[in-house]
């Protein structure tokens, strides 16, 4: 009886968004009286950090500090339309819609500043700290707070913008089946190192190496969090989680978190993660979606590592000690 070591890898190409009947998201941006900019959306941030990314994209496009952005979202009765946060589409669709809305708002902001400063709007620039200034001049400038107050109460101008991103409906060509179903493809590869105990059948994941090509990591810390949290979820799917352990028999299914097994904090694999950026032409600042794909490659990588360690080829998740031991029995019977 021995602890066997194995290494396996798997790669994934993952589509960003979908196109069932067209896949749009809208955004609205407007300035408050005090020079903050509200980004109105219906897109839901369920923890993936969409509000942070939307605020970053708006700040970058407007040329204002991140602190000036207020993201107001998730009231689908009153907000501009969004198909939803699914299909790894949020960053791509929302980001593009916010860029379009923020560009229009930026133009309105520069026009208002031009009137207030009595210069041509084309000669103005933002400095990223809150000032709109005449290019090449340090004196001729106005802070966005003063500009917003002037626009509201003196100039009678709105500083606002509308944005939409639409992935148009794509039908397959009847002859070839060719179609354009998504907007971009993100790519990833996972290498998993495992041990298999050939006496107990227990698999332990020692190390996960995760490499993700994400177009552009708009927020590298959150992208990394998504990659490593997703890799953890991949381990969980590979080795632990099931609602029907003896499917199609429904018995012995878990009823609560005590019985629904997931890796706990003591079961962590070491993680090494790298992000590669090849900007997508149609992505917001080049970004692609990496929402769902992060839980994909770890599973076949672990299956391959188990095969490498002990010769058992498993094709049904989760890879339980029982399935490992049955596989080892089969190998011995064949030998």
């Amino acid at each position: 009886m021995a602890i066997l070591r194995g290494r396996g890898y798997a790669a994934v190409n993952y589509p960003t968004g979908m196109n069932l009947g067209g896949d749009p998201t809208q955004a609205l941006v407007h300035a408050t009286t005090t020079g903050n900019f509200v980004v109105s959306l219906s897109s839901v941030d369920l923890g993936q950090g969409l509000k942070t990314v939307a605020a970053q994209v708006a700040a970058e496009t407007l040329g204002l500090p991140y602190e000036n952005i207020i993201v107001d979202t998730a009231d689908t009765d009153t907000g501009p339309h969004c198909m939803g946060t699914f299909a790894s589409r949020g960053t791509h669709r929302v980001g593009n819609a916010v860029i379009m809305a923020a560009q229009e708002a930026r133009e309105a902001m520069l026009e208002a500043a031009a009137e207030e400063l009595e210069v041509d709007a084309a000669d103005l620039e933002t400095d990223g700290t809150g000032f709109i200034k005449l290019k090449g001049s340090e004196e001729k400038k106005i802070h966005v707070v003063d500009l917003a107050l002037a626009a509201h109460f003196k100039l009678g101008r709105t500083i606002a913008g509308r944005g939409i991103f639409l992935k148009e409906r794509s039908y397959p060509e009847p002859e070839t089946g060719k179609m354009d179903p998504d907007s971009a493809q993100a790519h990833a590869c996972t290498v998993a190192e495992v041990t298999v105990d050939d006496e107990t059948g227990v698999v332990e994941v020692l190390h996960m190496y995760n490499v993700y090509e994400v177009g552009r990591a708009i927020n590298p810390a959150m992208a990394r969090q998504q990659i490593e949290g997703g890799a953890w979820m991949g381990v969980s799917h590979a080795l632990y989680e099931t609602t029907e352990p003896y499917y199609p028999v429904r018995e012995h299914g878990p009823r609560d978190f005590e019985e629904y097994l997931m890796p706990g904090p003591a079961d962590n694999a070491q993680m090494t993660s790298e992000i590669i950026e090849f900007p997508a032409a149609n992505g917001p600042y080049g970004a692609k979606g990496i929402g769902e794909m992060t839980a994909n490659a770890p599973i076949p990588a672990i299956a391959n590592a188990i095969y490498d360690a002990c010769g058992v080829r498993l094709t049904e998740m989760p890879f339980t000690p029982e399935s490992i031991l049955r596989g080892l029995d089969e190998l011995r019977a064949r030998a």
Binding site: L46, G47, G49, E228, G229, D256, P265
Partner: protein, 153 residues
């Protein structure tokens, strides 16, 4: 069974209220006292996001009938937050990116606060044991472990 008058200290403030029999501490905190940091995840003591302190011990407040702790000293996440800024542990969660959706965070912080009060320099194993009753579905735990260890050092 009649309702009972409950007198407990919550985050240093004396509270008196009437509770129906079987009212959980979690329900009393959230619904009666308006302290909503402690979350109701599973309601059966298996997820840990309702973790609070009763007389210094970390407990799952969804499992504690409030009438059984009359006279106790209760602390919630609200009670660990200073009037200005963040507590060292809260700051460490921020610095170490130890939260994603945030639903488990109140329980994680209260479990860690209880650990650090008893053991100011915990090992990795101590931290893992302390949060082993708390489920996180986003982070993979590593950033949470690191955030707690960073405060302990």
């Amino acid at each position: 069974m009649p309702s009972s008058v409950i007198e407990i200290t919550v985050n240093g403030s004396e509270e008196e209220f009437i509770a129906k029999p079987g009212t959980t501490l979690l329900s009393a905190l959230r619904d009666t006292l308006g302290l909503t940091a402690a979350k109701r995840g599973c309601g059966v003591g298996t997820c840990g996001t309702c973790t609070c302190h009763v007389d210094g011990e970390a407990v799952m407040s969804c499992l504690v009938p409030v009438e059984t702790i009359n006279g106790s000293d209760v602390k919630t996440l609200e009670g660990t937050t200073p009037p200005e800024g963040l507590s060292p542990l809260q700051q460490s969660f921020l610095d170490n990116f130890a939260t994603q959706c945030g639903f488990c965070t109140p329980g994680m912080i209260m479990a860690a606060e209880a650990l650090l009060a008893q053991n100011p320099s915990p090992t990795r194993e101590d931290v893992v044991t302390a949060i082993s009753g708390n489920v996180c579905r986003c982070t993979g735990y590593e950033s949470i472990i690191e955030a707690i260890l960073a405060v302990g050092k």
